[in-house]
Amino acid sequence: MHVPDGFLSPQTWIPAWGLAIGAWAWAARDLRRHLDEATVPRLAMLTALAYGLGLVMVPLPGGSSGHVLGVALLTLLFGLKPAFLAYSGVLLLQALLFGAGGITTLGINALALGLAGGVVALLLFRLLRPIHEGTAVALAAWGSVMTGALLLALVLGAQPLLASQADGSPLFFPFGWSITLPALLIPHLFIGLGEAALTLLVWRHARQRGWRLPSP
């Protein structure tokens, strides 16, 4: 789902990088104080885990599939800041090693998928947990996927307004919101359902195994 290089105008990705640098500094602040033999491997493994989750396919009805985002799972299991840093690290490695996503778009992708997705997952979980924990986990996962898709659809759809030639032809991403919103949100309704089912199964397993989970 992440946006590749070349589709966002500098008016979009340069401020997004600025915001993302602020967000990374905020997320790393506590971590820097406690960089030791426990936190360093934990961050590395979380990053690898976030990468590994992206390789797992979310099954969809009709035989098709999408990729697991895993942001909600990482956030609920390990906390917002480590999950955001780990997910940003994965986006960077994917862009450099596999040309998936991009360097210019790293800020937007990290903010939309890693940070906003994680925040929404956490809020939904905290709000709904007193009512029913399983529903809270499933909706948190679904909500994080939809939030990322919505933000990226808004950013992509704004490109024709932000940067176009004098004759009106686009310079970067060519489609407006009337196309980007349904094109991203409709498939992610189903990807979100797959991710919710998967996250719930893993959450239950984590409880059964007695993993010591921080209270998100």
Binding site: P4, D5, G6, F7, S9, P10, W13, I14, L35, D36, E37, A38, V40, P41, R42, L43, A44, M45, L46, T47, A48, L49, Y51, G52, L53, L55, V56, M57, V58, P59, P61, S65, V68, G70, L73, L77, G89, L93, L96, L97, F98, G99, G102, I103, T104, Q165, S169, L171, F172, F173, P174, F175, I179, A197, L198, L201, V202, H205, A206, W211
Partner: protein, 186 residues
């Protein structure tokens, strides 16, 4: 080609990415791509092939969508498609070129903790990839006919659980190894 400082190459790459956002002439973009290919040396075609493969699906979808929209609106101009595809291809090509030229671990050498995190991450990523590839092959061998939705959800969940288990175990192992070697002793 003479080896340049990794940080110099990194800065040149970042500058090139920013500059490319302001180039909107297909001829100039094609010229820059040609120049990049010329300067890359013998590995140019391998890198170009890799770059094309990386952008194929997304760029093809956007290009076809744009062509359909243009046809529907009764307009026709290929300039945008040329600009967009050349820019994306050049950016991805430069990224792969950078990774081929710069050893990321070497570039991070002045920051030992960052080097350590990257080394551990890359090692663990490789383990993850192999593990999931094995899982996929095993699932396919157990299901000669296409598997149902329920089986695929359970398969996905079991992959995630295994990767999680592995990661937690590897984190503990690495932590103990670092402690025993006094990696963070003052």
């Amino acid at each position: 080609m003479k080896r340049r400082s990794p940080r110099l190459l990194l800065a040149a790459y970042a500058l090139a990415l920013v500059a490319l956002g302001f180039v909107h002439h297909p001829g100039l973009l094609a010229g820059l791509l040609g120049l990049a290919l010329l300067l890359t040396g013998r590995e140019r075609w391998a890198l170009l092939k890799k770059s094309l493969a990386a952008i194929l699906i997304f760029n093809l979808s956007v290009s076809l969508g744009y062509l359909l929209l243009q046809a529907w609106q009764g307009r026709s101009s290929g300039t945008y498609l040329l600009i967009m595809n050349l820019r994306v291809l050049l950016m991805v090509f430069l990224g792969f070129w950078l990774v081929r030229r710069v050893n990321l671990l070497q570039a991070l050498a002045p920051w030992p903790t960052a080097t350590l995190i990257l080394a551990l991450t890359l090692g663990q990523i490789e383990t993850c990839r192999r593990l999931l590839a094995d899982f996929r092959l095993a699932f396919m061998s157990r299901h000669p006919e296409p598997a149902g939705l329920r089986a695929r959800v359970r398969h996905g969940a079991s992959q995630v659980i295994t990767v999680l288990d592995k990661s937690l175990a590897a984190s503990t192992e690495a932590s103990q190894a670092l402690r025993s070697r006094g990696a963070f002793d003052a």
